[in-house]
């Protein structure tokens, strides 16, 4: 089983099937393609995306439905192609795709979630993309004060 040295979680044994790949990288992290989704028993519902190439790079994410149960995800034909999804195929959260929002933690302010640019994962081929939502007006700094942070352990 391959091993991964990380800056925050120590050494992780992982299954290569569990990796997700961003064929286009993420804005500001264009070179980072492979990430290991990782959760600690007590960190739920947070899901960490640990970079495979950079031990110090990790994103803290939450399933979008926990932040906004009525979230409307729009995928353009380009997004669908990048993820290897068919326009006609059903896209259900947790079934065919995952939709995660990246959380920004600050020492001095409440955490925020980037609802403007969710990470979408095609669970069938484990391809992922950060999909910028231009039409729906979601904030890139949606405040999480008092909601997800107090999620039960």
């Amino acid at each position: 089983m391959p091993r991964l040295e990380t800056a925050h979680f120590g050494t992780l044994d992982y299954d290569e099937q569990a990796l997700i790949e961003f064929p286009a990288g993420l804005p500001a992290f264009d070179q980072e393609r492979l990430f290991l989704p990782y959760e600690q028993g007590c960190s739920k519902p947070f899901l960490f995306l640990q970079s495979l190439a950079r031990p110090d790079l990790v994103f803290v994410t939450l399933p979008v439905e926990l932040v906004d149960p009525a979230y409307r995800l729009t995928l353009s034909p380009e997004d669908l192609a990048l993820l290897g999804l068919e326009e006609s195929s059903p896209l259900r959260l947790g079934q065919e795709i995952l939709c995660l929002v990246i959380v920004t933690l600050r020492e001095d302010r409440p955490p925020t979630a980037n609802l403007m640019s969710p990470v979408v994962v095609n669970l069938a081929n484990r391809r992922a993309a950060q999909v910028i939502q231009t039409e729906t007006g979601y904030s890139h700094q949606h405040s999480l004060a008092g909601s997800a942070q107090e999620a039960p352990c």
Partner: protein
């Protein structure tokens, strides 16, 4: 902010090197053509905001705090679990002879730990404790 009205196919110039032309209009949308030298970065603003937000989200210092807090809470849960596991709570069954105290306790424990006979049997106060093996002590 400078505001300029333009029609389709008209253009504006920014400095000597950048030209922006209005290519097409549709309700709520405009298509722009941009001519600029290679060294000029052109980004949709949302991409720049996303890049900045990703950089902020990748800052590790607060994450350390979050993980510490989670570890701390994990320890709390473990402590509560251990307290519950190790503590002894006394539950008392009181009743007249032969009303079924032993039967009830046996049913709770899932086995015939206490003898049940029609005569007076466990007439003394009987303590039932959890242990590694079956044993009985007379005092």
């Amino acid at each position: 902010m400078l505001i300029i009205r333009r029609r389709v196919s008209e253009a504006i110039l920014i400095g000597d090197e950048v030209e922006i032309q209005v290519m097409d209009l549709s309700p709520g949308r405009v298509k722009l053509g941009i001519l600029a030298p290679k060294h000029v970065t052109i980004l949709r603003k949302e991409v720049k905001l996303t890049a900045e937000q990703n950089r902020a989200a990748s800052q590790v210092a607060p994450l350390e705090g979050l993980i510490r807090e989670m570890r701390g809470r994990g320890m709390e849960v473990m402590a509560i679990y251990q307290r519950l596991r190790d503590a002894k709570y006394r539950v008392v069954f009181l009743g007249a002879y032969n009303v079924g105290k032993s039967t009830l306790i046996n049913a709770y424990l899932g086995d015939e730990y206490l003898p049940r006979v029609l005569e007076e049997c466990t007439t003394k106060i009987t303590h039932v404790l959890r242990g590694d093996a079956m044993s009985a002590t007379l005092r």
